[in-house]
Point group: C2
Chain length 318, copies 2
């Protein structure tokens, strides 16, 4: 039985879209998954009357407080111990749930992930990735996209391993190709960080490094895992997200550009922490919640955190 905790009070459309998402998830999956709905019990129960989710499939954990979107992450987590995010991480840390999902305050989710369940041994800095849609219908992974604004070469090298494991086990890409986001193709190009990261990636036996990729390669299927520090990654991700809005404003209907609607992917996983944590977009709606539950389940089924643990233990051993 996989137990997924969901912050029902997080995101712009809480709790209704979260409930719809849980309902949609159980329409397709009835076995072996139990959702722990964390939020205001009274509000949740009222809404749940309108949805036919099997009673055995969920339980409610009351959380009277909410961390609002604008609140300071560390301060809010400390002061609002009865908030849905704080309770979620408490349940996760104490083993009462196996994974935790929220579309609420991103900063609070990151702080919670880093300080309540900790990084996997050997992982210097956990990271968050984002999906990049490709024309063949597949997804690539870009990371880091904002958790680590300043990086060392070793961090980027580890992002490559974390991203490769996620791509292999969750995105089901055999032998994912890793590209270093850079300003030129040739070895030796780049800022000091990229120049120093290149040889580490090249020598890394755990990944299939294909060299530098440029900005023009990000939206095409050149590398499956694209690594950079979180500053560039964040700017690139938000620029890519804005293409969808631009295409909509221009009244363009196109199947591929539809897939730039990042909302539909649900959230991005925090990679390198000891349990599955998924951070959703604030604008997440039912499909996004459903997809986030699916990803959390797949992370559990494939034992991704265990595989990451093994991978980093191997690295450490002589």
């Amino acid at each position: 039985m996989i137990r997924i905790g969901i912050d029902m009070m997080g995101g712009d459309y809480a709790p209704l879209e979260a409930i719809k998402g849980v309902a949609a998830f159980f329409e397709g999956n009835t076995n072996d998954v139990h959702c722990v709905l964390i939020g205001n019990e009274h509000v949740l129960k009222n809404h749940l009357l309108d949805h036919s989710i099997p009673e055995m499939a969920y339980s409610i954990v009351h959380a009277p407080e909410i961390i609002e979107m604008h609140e300071h992450p560390t301060k809010a987590l400390k002061e609002k111990q009865q908030s849905s995010i704080a309770i979620g991480f408490h349940l996760l840390a104490s083993g009462k749930i196996d994974g935790f999902i929220s579309a609420g305050n991103t900063g609070a989710m990151m702080v919670g992930a880093l300080f309540s369940i900790k990084a996997i041994e050997g992982v210097i800095r956990p990271t968050i990735g984002a999906y990049i849609p490709r024309e063949d219908g597949s997804l690539g992974l870009l990371l880091d996209v904002g958790l680590n604004a300043d990086c060392k070469p070793e961090n980027i090298n580890q992002f490559a391993v974390l991203g490769s494991l996620f791509a292999k086990h969750i995105l089901k890409i055999e032998n994912p190709r890793v590209g270093l986001v850079n300003l030129g193709e040739e070895e030796g190009k780049g800022n000091l960080l990229a120049q120093a990261a290149y040889p580490l990636l090249k020598e890394n036996q755990q990944i299939q490094f294909i060299g530098n990729i440029e900005g023009r390669d990000i939206l095409v299927n050149k590398a499956d895992v694209m690594v950079c520090e979180g500053f560039t990654g964040n700017v690139v991700l938000k620029l890519a997200e804005s293409i969808y809005d631009l295409v909509k404003r221009r009244n363009i209907k196109d199947e591929h550009f539809e897939r730039f609607n990042f909302e539909s992917y649900g959230g991005v996983p925090v990679l390198g922490v000891s349990k599955p944590v998924i951070i959703g977009h604030g604008i997440s709606q039912a499909t996004a919640f459903k997809n986030m539950i699916n990803i959390a389940c797949r992370m559990m089924e494939t034992n991704l955190t265990g595989k990451i643990h093994d991978s980093f233990t191997e690295t450490i051993q002589p």
Copy 2:
């Protein structure tokens, strides 16, 4: 009389498209501009027979050598003194031409600009910008886009001044709004560089600083001048360029996305050097060459380098 030097041997379609561009330029502008065509005299004369450029409007300076696209910039410039780029910078440095344009080896153009004509006094690092098309038909400016992969906060502060002067005098934007490309909107966000650049920009009396802008703001009309280090800027520019190819592949016809064809803008100016230098895209065709000549002329007419000089002299004075 403005004398513009053009490297006729640079770019993928040299010299034919360069000649067509010069011809197109003189169809609209016959007064006060003289083009110095630098390249293989024999080849140029043959091609010129097919075009009715007024004889008084141009002269040819013979350059028997060519710096190829793949050559090492510094080495090539040193060894190929008779190349069109080396001769172009020699003419520029000695005052025989007022501005220099090439769609050839970008690195050689940068090295030439930095070492033959030097930076304007007070400018720590010259920069190159790129145009960003906006839905209202106007252009924004993103800089640095690759000349300075590693930057200090002071560099970014100077890019803001250089970009603002270019936006005001060449793009004709009164009081250009300067945005710092960053991963969040609030003051205090960012990597160490952006965090340190913010207060400098905020206190800078020579610019109109509007604060941080995010990736999603780059393609919309939020800031006229968008500043960042050259690593992020280069990745963003090449990603933006790739949108045009993607839209073409999807068979989408749209007036705005047509303007993502960066080739049509001609080249990007090197800002902060003592004379107008414009670096063209390798794939530049006739329109691009025509536009580059136009921009070089406008830089001369508005005395942009003089205005930059005055601006940086003011900064130095107590």
